[in-house]
């Protein structure tokens, strides 16, 4: 069995040996009682400091929670979305009956839409989303596959984006494909699925 080699610190031992023969004065040995008092004095303020830090951390947390609450209230109650869907829309009732919640960015107003306004579709049907997009961009959506109407999405629509940008984002879902032919949007199955049929 191989013996574990003993550790070596001979250099350190020589250093300590030389230091051991020096007087306390030569090595500047501090007064032990003074050092103890100094240490305790140093530690005491840090305890109070810790409490102050703790208080500061709690205040910051409260402020953050307040901010989140404010943002939640602002986005939930001061919104424009389905409530303002045109009443004469053929699908208006369906949209209102849907489980969709939408919200606009804080910059939007009843008088018009400012840059930065958006609509957030949460679990909204694709046909409902496209109805809004159709009205905004003056286009018409047609579904090549009726089943695709029921696909539900979480989608944030930035109204300042161009139609092509919006379609690009929607096509990112890969559950359907929207093709634009002038003022018509054709909603069909994704390309891969089409080829497999």
């Amino acid at each position: 069995m191989k013996m574990k080699q003993p550790e070596d610190n001979m250099e350190l031992e020589v250093m300590r040996a030389f230091a051991s023969r020096k007087s306390d004065q030569e090595i500047g040995m501090p007064d032990v009682e003074q050092e103890l008092a100094r240490l305790k004095a140093r530690m005491a303020p840090s305890n109070a400091g810790f409490s102050l830090r703790k208080i500061a951390a709690i205040l910051v947390a409260v402020l953050m929670l307040t901010g989140f609450g404010y943002a939640a209230v602002r986005t939930s109650f001061f919104t424009k979305g389905w409530d303002e869907a045109p009443a004469n829309s053929p699908k208006g009732e369906d949209c209102q009956a849907s489980s969709t919640l939408s919200s606009t960015g804080p910059e939007s107003s009843p008088l018009g839409e400012l840059e930065g306004a958006f609509l957030l579709f949460q679990d909204a049907r694709l046909d409902s989303i496209l109805m809004q997009i159709d009205q905004h961009y003056k286009v018409e959506s047609r579904f090549a596959d009726e089943d695709l109407r029921q696909i539900r999405l979480l989608f944030k629509w930035q109204k300042q984006h161009s139609l092509d940008e919006v379609l690009q984002r929607l096509n990112g879902f890969e559950r359907f494909q929207i093709r634009r032919e002038e003022n018509t949007l054709i909603v069909e199955q994704p390309q891969a699925e089409q080829q497999s049929r």
Binding site: N9, M10, L12, E13, I27, M29, L39
Partner: protein
């Protein structure tokens, strides 16, 4: 650990711990900071029982002093020779006072005066090999040779089972 236990431990251990730190750092302020830092760590962990034996505290002082040396880059470059020896130690030196006296006696009686002088310059006064060579009017290689011989003899006497890997 109660306040009383802490105070007793502090008073009993401080001088030895300071000497250990000073032997490595050769600086009063640094040595004070290192030792105080070790005891501050103990105060931060009041739920731990009082350390039994000095070995634990010695190891903590050793490690803290080592970290300080490693981080002093500017000084390190100037004292590379000695620091290499310190930093390459595989464990802290926990030799008790009796052993240190034996080591000192061996140095003073078994080594040549020149070798003894070289050891004092490099290990006690923490001079670099170059500085020691300049002071003694010899080459750096000569300094290196003296130190190698001294350490070999010391190991033969005090750590005969150790074989340095080549």
């Amino acid at each position: 650990m109660t306040d009383e236990e802490f105070d007793t431990l502090f008073r009993q251990s401080y001088p030895k711990l300071y000497r250990l730190a000073f032997s490595m750092l050769n600086d009063q302020e640094d040595s004070r900071d290192v030792v105080s830092g070790v005891f501050a760590d103990l105060l931060d962990k009041p739920h731990l029982p009082a350390p039994t034996g000095e070995g634990y505290l010695m190891t903590m002082v050793h490690n803290r002093a080592l970290n300080l040396l490693k981080h002093r880059r500017v000084e390190n470059e100037a004292r590379a020779d000695m620091l290499h020896a310190v930093l390459s130690a595989t464990s802290p030196c926990l030799a008790d006072d009796d052993r240190l006296v034996e080591v000192l006696t061996f140095i003073e009686t078994q080594l040549t005066p020149q070798t003894r002088r070289v050891l004092m310059l490099c290990f006690d006064e923490k001079k670099t090999y170059q500085q020691a060579a300049s002071e003694l009017g010899v080459s750096v290689q000569a300094i290196n040779k003296h130190i190698s011989q001294a350490l070999r003899k010391l190991r033969e006497r005090f750590n005969p089972l150790y074989k340095r890997n080549k």
